[in-house]
Amino acid sequence: MTEAGGPDEKPATVRVVIDGREIEAEPGAPLLQVALDHGIQIPHYCYHPKLSIDGSCRMCQVQIQGQKKLAIACNTPCTEGLVVDTRGDEVADARRGVMELLLVNHPLDCPICDQAGECHLQDYSFAHGSHHARTESPRRKGLKRHPIGPRVVFDQERCILCRRCVRFTQEITQTDELRVFGIGDTSHIGTLESRPLDNPYSVNVADICPVGALLSADFHHKRRVWFLDTTASVCAGCANGCNIEIGTWRNEIQRLTPRRNDAVNDTWMCDAGRLGYGFVGAADRIRAARVRIDGEQREVSLQNALDAAAEALRQVRATHGAGAIAIVGSAHLTNEECFRLAAVARDEVQTPHLDLAVPLGTSDAFLVKAEKAANARGARDMGLVPGEGGHDLAGIAAAVEAGEIRALWVVGSRDLEEVIGGERAAKVAAALEVLVVQDVQPSYLTAAATIVLPGATWAEKSGTFTNHAGRVQRIGGAVTPPEGVVVDGELFARLASALAGGAVAAFEPAQVFDQIAAGVATYAGLSHLVLGAGGRNAGAAANGEA
């Protein structure tokens, strides 16, 4: 991940030679990692860049000039003049030997194993194994489909005892649920009966398991991985902005997995974020616009609903002034959408009463942040804050109840209900003349609304989020929205045109971002291209940082 993190001071380097290639390396860096960083593939199971060295799998053995025996590359620190060969016969023999031992008890049930297609054991067996077994004794039996925790499934027979999962629970979560019990032939991964693998990050063990022993219960037997399309994105669960890959099949999300970014989430993500994608394809997803006609909400075309919303807002403005209209934005919107919404509030609606409803929850000292939306910081950066003399969220609610604000446009109604409370939300809804709600799932407020506009989810958008620390990161559209639904930024563009007349300016996230870069000082110098896969810190370009 060369794009992640800032440039550190360059330490003095040492020169090592791997397979005849001279390579500059940090002194003491694991030889295995240095080789991998330079595209030299040394097979390995137990080594993981974010965990301590274990040295148990013996797969990464290499020949080091001047040493009689092969050495494991993971536990060989780079020193000046190290000459390494990864391609000799002796190395190939060692790899074949390790593979044979690992496969003595492996069930070879790849056809029904979720890991197949992204399995180190499978890949290395093809690359370094011998394709036939010399043993005839029966394979060791073990637990199958065992719920080792509420979100992780364990297959003991497939385990190769690399102890990555054990080290993860010891070093990363420090919850220590997993250990190797037994000895030799009886060795197996296990938990105390009274203490299953149940921590907020438990499913990461499925990612780091190099074989199919630990699996995500959510993804268990769901889809063969080679059928998945993957899209690089960012988790929408909280303000941390963990980098993820969205795995989809026929326009449906199958799983979220963490994507390495050392500046944000290393290689991890929390279970809540990983498993919190259900709303995207939920049965009760709002798929059509609705307008209240004669006291009852009726499905109408999106354009009719937008026209109705514009007309209602215009009427309130004509009767009571623009100050009688308030807008509550969502921290789930992308920066580009927030920028567009702020512009609509300022230019077309012309109200200063603009704020965000950001749901809060628990946080921890690792990845999980209290703000349960991905882009609260970005939304504020984009101007979703009260304008000159404008009310904040509490003020807006009070002004509605006082009859000063007559029309409210809410993006993300569940967040608003959570922040001000259901009872208050009901009072607010009752006091309004016009309630426009833009959302993806039904809520009390969508039921009470004058006009309902179907929103889109983060998985359906491209654009950027800015995390709690100010890192601006791109998200990618992994699925297309339900038929008839457009992304929220497009809704803002169309509503702007319905309010002010004139042609609809198409909503192009990359172009809007260029406007952001030109208009928001801390985003100067950034663009979708500059952000790349790992993102950049807002303000970094202005400060001359990379």
Partner: protein, 166 residues
């Protein structure tokens, strides 16, 4: 099930011998197994851990690693048959099969009367007299032949009857 006060005191008395309490784990497990009649009941693991100020999973890890600690009840006569190389070459597996037949138990099981259990163990260090069986902590039975099995079991039963008779 709890550790007896006497046992707790016995374990505590070991503390001064080591730089840290966790070092007493093996000794503590031996004491517990002795008091419990040959096994370490899992319910006692949290208590042992608390006493040594370590995590229960540390205790289970160690107790499961060593063959001499038992996680299930064993018979009053616990027959440990070495099946490592020398003993295996001299017919130890046949001895195990014969014991299973005579006693009606498989390795790891307990006979119906609670009298016998059989376990295959790692090298007992007596390759010159293979195959070797050790009953509980008693001196080895050496050069065990298949034909000795019935006599051996009868002898152990007789000893038990005699002990009860006393």
């Amino acid at each position: 099930m709890t550790l007896s006060q006497q046992l707790i005191e016995r374990i505590r008395a070991e503390f001064p011998k080591y730089p840290e309490k966790r070092a007493v784990l093996l000794t503590a497990l031996h004491f517990v197994q002795e008091e419990q009649g040959g096994w370490v009941p899992p319910e006692l693991i949290p208590e042992i851990a608390a006493l040594l100020e370590i995590h229960p999973i540390d205790v289970k890890e160690v107790a499961s690693f060593y063959h001499m600690f038992h996680e299930h009840p064993v018979g009053r006569s616990h027959l440990q048959v070495c099946t490592n190389l020398s003993c295996a070459l001299r017919g130890a597996r046949g001895v195990v099969r014969r014991l299973e037949g005579v006693l009606g138990v498989r390795p790891g099981e307990l006979s119906a009367d609670g009298e016998f259990s059989v376990e295959e163990v790692q090298c007992l260090g007596s390759c010159g007299s293979a195959p070797v069986i050790q009953v509980n902590n008693e001196p080895y039975l050496e050069n065990v032949a298949l034909g000795d099995v019935e006599t051996l079991v009868a002898g152990l039963r007789g000893r038990r009857l005699a002990a009860v008779g006393e």
